[in-house]
């Protein structure tokens, strides 16, 4: 789950990091009153709280030289979609004069299975650009997860990005806090870009934290993110997710339902192989029951891009008879095959599954290849 800038900064603040003085304005609140109450003096920076990268370039961050101007910008930004997303909050911050913009981030390096610290003296652009333009400027250091990030790690990195003296100590404190937040909150990413160098200290002008979705149960205080706010999902993906379906929208017309991520991807690849184009990825996961199958079918009946449906099941922990029951129930409840369906059913309890389908006039394939060829040729 991506955190908003203000949430990420609040966490850093909790861990002792100095962040720019600011006030958060929710939609409908009196911006002038809040800015004045917070005692913020211009110049100010007005920042749209949306969860997309490249917010600044898209016009979501503006500078204001007076409170009047800031109030006007708050109103404007609430109405301005940034890459399709309108904010629910605007952060008004004191503008910080600074000498340099640095970059610092922590991720998990999956092949080394260790946290990896990345830092550069050339912040302000995204890491992929830095990597392209100044690859030698990116300092990388793996951290032993049992030992954690120690002061000397931070000092090594700080020195390599050109810091010394008090600034180095400030950077070292910042990096330690960033690491703690990253570990305590199960981060996929914790990043500050730009991390401003102001005299002899560093101050994060922006902060980005992504929390591992699987770990959210440990952090109820973070609350839930509305899918609409993430900017990652299409309208139909949001609908699917709110029903508990693992669904990715694609551009073709063959609706796909399969079980297991690998087999679902392979089903897509198969449809391509025979000249078709999948309209989606829909993975039932392991151990799907009739109810979930029904839900998936109902969903693809509604999903306009899917003109025909290919159900490709290889039962392991998933039982073919449950899949068959779900399909039959869906058809009974929804008034028959709204769209043509081709079923491939193999694996656990396949005889029973096939028998149930046959009773209802559906002949299931055992072979995915034949089934894929058929569905591609099918006239919707």
């Amino acid at each position: 789950m991506k955190l908003f800038e203000f949430e990420a900064k609040n966490l850093l603040k909790k861990y002792g990091v100095e962040v720019p003085p600011s006030v958060l304005i929710a939609k409908g609140e009196d911006a002038r009153k809040k800015i004045e109450e917070a005692g913020l003096e211009p110049p100010l920076v007005v920042k749209s709280q949306v969860l997309v990268a490249g917010r600044g370039k898209a016009g979501g961050i503006k500078k204001a030289d007076s409170i009047d101007e800031a109030v006007k910008l708050v109103e404007e930004l609430f109405e301005k979609p940034i890459k399709g997303l309108k904010p629910s909050y605007i952060l008004v911050e004191k503008a910080i004069e600074h000498e340099a913009e640095l970059y610092a981030a922590i991720i998990i390096d999956r092949s080394e299975r260790k946290p990896l610290v990345l830092a550069s003296r050339y912040g302000g652009m995204d890491i992929e650009e830095i990597a392209k333009e100044k690859p030698e400027s990116i300092i990388r250091l793996h951290i032993d997860p049992q030992v954690g990030l120690r002061g000397y790690h931070a000092r090594i990195i700080g020195k390599k990005i050109g810091l010394s003296g008090k600034a180095l100590r400030s950077f070292s404190n910042f990096l330690s806090a960033l690491y703690k937040v990253f570990m305590d909150y199960d981060g996929d990413l914790a990043e500050s870009n730009p991390l401003a160098l102001v005299g002899d200290k560093v101050i994060p002008l922006d902060a980005r934290i992504i929390v591992d979705d699987n770990a959210l149960y440990k952090h109820p205080e973070l609350g839930e993110r509305k899918l609409e706010e993430t900017g990652e999902y299409t309208e139909w993906e949001i609908k699917a997710r709110s029903q508990g379906l693992t669904f990715v929208e694609l551009d073709g017309d063959v609706g796909i339902i399969s079980n297991g991520a690998g087999l679902t991807m392979t089903t897509m690849d198969l449809v391509y192989e025979f000249g078709g184009r999948p309209s989606n990825f829909l993975d039932l996961g392991g151990g799907a029951d009739a109810e979930l199958v029904k839900k998936a079918i109902r969903f693809l009946f509604e999903f306009p891009k899917a003109k025909k449906i290919f159900i490709n099941i290889f039962g392991g922990i998933t039982r073919c008879d449950e899949v068959a029951k779900g399909l039959v129930q869906a058809l009974e409840e929804l008034g028959g095959m709204k769209k043509p369906i081709i079923v491939r059913l193999t694996g656990t309890n396949e005889e029973e599954g096939r028998r149930i389908l046959k009773e209802h006039g559906i002949e299931a394939y055992t072979d995915a290849i034949e089934a894929a060829k058929t569905v591609v040729k099918l006239q919707a």
Binding site: I108, R110, S111, R113, K114, P115, E128, D144, P145, Q146, M183, D186, G187, D188, D212, N214, A215, Y217, K218, T246, V248, L250, S258, N259, G260, A261, G262, L263, T264, M265, T266, M268, D269, L270, Y272, E273, P278, F281, D283, G285, G286, F314, G315, G316, I317, T318, T346, G347, T348, A368, I369, A372
Partner: protein, 260 residues
């Protein structure tokens, strides 16, 4: 306590003391699975298969780090995997046993159902499997592609290796390096997700193309360079393996004939 004649214990220690158990198969939910792995390790179990899906990456990172440092001989399969099967001999997992058949091909795969699909295609062509290992679809897991290929390379019952990868991460590339330098047995490789769009997580937490890395194309290229037979068409996994093994056998026969 017993359930259907199977003894049930409250702790791994009791189970190990009373039965001499040396393998643990873990199904407990994600918040408790890391504990279950550590409990098994601390009680001397050296083969642990974890089926559980949805374990936080950090928790797995800590568990794997502890395992590698403290119990270097222990082997963890998974999490988020179907387990291990040696057809006709043993199964520790959730795969449908009947699609597997005893034979000479070792299968290693990040995907459960895709392992079944591949085994099914092989079995239908009378090509049996020595062992199939599902290593799981999470970003941090136990045995890697390379680890299992190394084991197959040493296993006298395995004569050919089928590796099933998917988009995301760099494990297939690491396996390719090993294959190039160490493996003489024929290696076949299929990578799922040739048509997957970048930036979208395809079901598995680990199956995502980020920053142009982890594409099926890059993995196939690395494997091809390493001398593996890369199978692009998922419909032809079985067929391709059969055809190439046949050709290799003929070559071998000719060589023997010439030698005589």
């Amino acid at each position: 306590m017993e359930v259907d004649g199977i003894p049930v214990f409250n702790t791994v220690r009791e189970a190990v003391e009373e039965t001499g158990a040396n393998c643990s198969l873990i199904f407990v939910p994600a918040p408790f699975a890391p504990d279950a792995i550590v409990e098994a390790l601390d009680n001397g179990i050296e083969l642990i298969v974890c089926i559980t899906e949805g374990i936080p990456v950090k928790d797995m990172m800590m568990v794997k780090d502890y395992m590698v440092k403290t119990y270097p001989n222990a082997k963890l399969v998974g999490p988020n995997c179907p387990g291990v099967i040696t057809p006709g001999e043993a199964k520790v997992g959730i795969m449908p046993g009947h699609v597997f058949k005893r034979g000479k091909i070792g299968i290693v795969s990040r995907s459960g159902t895709l392992t079944y699909e591949a085994a099914y295609q092989l079995t239908r062509l009378e090509l049996g499997q020595s062992t199939a290992v599902g290593i799981g679809g999470d970003p941090v897991h136990g045995l890697t592609h390379k680890d299992v290929i190394e084991m197959f390379n040493k296993d006298p019952e395995t004569e050919a290796i089928l590796m099933i990868g998917e988009i995301g991460g760099t494990e297939e590339e690491e396996a390719a390096e090993y294959i190039e330098s160490e493996v003489d047995k024929p290696v076949f490789a299929y990578i799922a997700g040739i048509t997957a769009p970048p930036g979208k997580r395809m079901g598995h937490a680990g199956a995502i193309i980020t920053g142009g890395k982890g594409t099926a194309q890059a993995k196939m290229k690395a494997l091809e360079k390493a001398g593996a037979y890369v199978i692009e068409n998922p419909a032809k996994i079985g067929e391709t393996v059969a055809k190439i093994l046949k050709a290799l056998e003929l070559e071998e026969e000719e060589r023997t004939y010439e030698a005589e």
